[in-house]
Symmetry: C2
Subunit: 404 residues, 2 copies
């Protein structure tokens, strides 16, 4: 497994582009992205569990019901959700892809992200299609990654190279997500491409399994979006023997997928709205996987702890508090807490009670950009990781007046 560049265009046969078509007022911000596979690809997806679902999700679900997709179109600046004509607009977006590329509208994954409840006009998209398709390129991942950003401050792109049965395969992904991030089944817009060959069933199995330990363990603000979606397109152009069952090849594929999804989770968490720090909570010693996950995610979600991390304050009582109300079945008298970063490790709590530590040293550890919160829950064999960010003035600023 080797990290490489190229994002969603790292895998063979994928072109991408992103442009400003006019949905967003700021002309320097791209707002429309397209990803195309040269050949039809096996497709899998997971969607938000929010009862309020963006119209594009409904259309995408229908389109990939047959397990095949060849293109992804996505706009930012408007979520196309809670609009009376949302389904029609999402279908129109697919029809535009067919008209301009020849790929059947039924093979298009469509997505939207931005404000909820404001009608989305098809005109700027229709007018932008020529430029969008003309600019498609095998090096266009970065443009596409920019086209799906909303309050994101950095583009989120990653790719890996791996080998299946002697064949070099590649997989890459782009993501957007900065606020309204507390995925449950999927997260806000992640598009992954691979040239590995894999059956539809095994692709969905890989994705559905992976997200339980990755995107479902990510939270920026506890708000599960209406438009969350993760899709994987596998076009088979690497020429490996198609993966159709569990085994060594499937394991390798899962590892590749996991390295993509974990990297994207960390990018999303680190670029949380207003965030100055990436937080990673690493739970160990739990009696069950569920307890490890529940405790780790509760810590990452605590507003009080998030604010303390912003202030580089080793207020470990808030870690204990968050474990205690999480619902995880743990013996609080066995809980230990340490903070770790590039500046070192400081143990602050053992067996449920405080241990003496240097406030100065703790401050140094917590002033770093990436903080690990290590929680040991006992002597059990299970562990889990969760990702989040600090709570800052800028989160309030960004969300105090997002629409206007």
């Amino acid at each position: 497994m080797k990290m490489i560049t190229g994002g969603v265009c790292a895998a063979k046969g994928f072109r991408a582009n992103g442009i400003h078509c006019g949905i967003r007022r700021n002309h320097s911000k791209k707002d429309l992205a397209l990803i195309l596979s040269d050949v039809p690809a096996t497709a899998a997806a997971v969607y938000t569990t929010n009862l309020v679902k963006g119209a594009p999700l409904t259309v995408t679900k229908e389109n990939i019901a047959n397990g095949i997709a060849q293109a992804v179109i996505c706009n930012s600046g408007n979520a196309n959700t809670c609009n009376a004509n949302g389904i029609q607009i999402a279908q129109d977006m697919c029809a535009l892809v067919e008209k301009h590329t020849g790929i059947s509208a039924g093979d298009v994954v469509v997505a939207s992200t931005g404000v909820i409840g404001q009608p989305l006009c098809i005109d700027p998209i229709a007018q932008g299609m020529d430029a969008l398709v003309e600019g498609l390129s095998y090096e266009g991942s970065e443009n596409a990654a920019q086209g799906i950003m909303t309050t994101d401050t950095t583009k989120k792109e990653v790719a890996v190279e791996f080998t299946l049965g002697g064949k070099t395969c590649r997989m890459g992904g782009i993501a957007k997500g900065s606020g309204m991030i507390h995925p449950n089944m999927a997260t806000m817009l992640v598009f992954i491409t691979t040239d590995a060959s894999i059956s539809r069933e095994m692709l969905q199995k890989a994705l559905s399994s992976d997200i339980t330990a990755t995107f479902n363990m990510l939270s920026i603000d506890g708000d599960t979006s209406t438009n969350d979606m993760v899709t994987v397109l596998a076009n088979g152009m690497a020429g490996n023997e198609t993966i159709t069952a569990e085994g060594e090849d499937f394991n390798t594929f899962m590892q590749a997928l996991n390295s993509i999804t974990v990297a994207l989770c960390r990018m999303i968490a680190g670029d949380g709205e207003g965030a100055t720090k990436l937080l990673e909570c690493i739970a160990t010693g739990a009696d069950t996987l569920e307890a490890a996950k529940t405790a780790a995610k509760s810590v990452i979600c605590s507003s009080l702890l998030k604010a303390a991390m912003f202030g580089a304050d080793a207020n470990w009582g808030r870690v204990l508090c968050a474990i205690g109300y999480s619902g995880a079945d743990v013996d609080v008298n066995k809980v230990g807490v340490s903070f770790r970063s590039n500046a070192g490790t400081v143990e602050v709590c053992k067996d449920g009670a405080g241990v003496p530590f240097s406030e100065e040293e703790a401050k140094k550890v917590l002033l770093e950009k990436e903080i690990e919160i290590l929680i040991s829950l006992g002597d059990g064999p299970f562990g889990a990781k969760a990702w989040g960010c600090d709570l800052t003035y800028d989160y309030v600023k960004i969300n105090g007046d997002y629409r206007t």
Copy 2:
């Protein structure tokens, strides 16, 4: 039912006081409170569901296992939680009450609030007892209310007068709570007194029932504290016939209790850490009580909506989003949303989709200090209320560096 003054001293036979004894560094902040009944009182309590529990809760639970209490002692500035000698310190506090007042240590409710995981020294409390007891007064509720404050900016006191079988009864309460507020079974330190006579069983029944629609519907930051506790002391000095069963008197008592608890909920929400606005979400039309409560509480807890309310931004998509991920069984296509305040009412969403509204008018409504978020969930008969506050820069500031 008549609102009156006097707080926990409104009911006959209750004295109270609060002083600065030295637990908090700031000499102008009181940090120790005492409430005494002239006669033994029937006692009921509910406690936090956090697995990490403050030591005082364990001691209180033991002390009122027999349904009797006569005094409440409470310090602020230190939660006496996650400390190796916490139980001993809490017992010592009760013993000090016995030594200085003659009331048996076993009849004392003890509570602590403040930082978790820092040893609490008994010395300042022991040294303050003389002044605390000397200053006890039938007009001392305000001092006690101040003595239990931490990051609270206003004292929280309320009282009512009502009649049971021709006898005038009174009930009053004080509360503290500003951060780490997301009660489940009880909230951060509420002490209620009444001179009504009621059996132990009916008092606990009244309290346990009431909090499901009051304190359990309150959230400031989603963090369920380790030290939450609500206690009621009923000393019977009003001379009414003891309430021992359901009926008209019990209903009147429940109404009195509810008017106290709702008033305190609103005070706590309005004084949430950093809050500039009190938010009240009023759900109607649900098919089940559970759906109404779940939806209302989810709206109140959404960080995104809370930030939008801070910015007076009528971003109703976030209300829909929060209802959608709440887990409540609702038909999102029937959901309506309006914002209401002293400046008027503005409807923003009907049948799950936006309706045209004046942004200017909405701004005017949302610039008020108390905002009602009205959510209609369909044609069902159930409703619920939940209370919270906006998310502001000051919440981050207060919690970014609380300990130092």
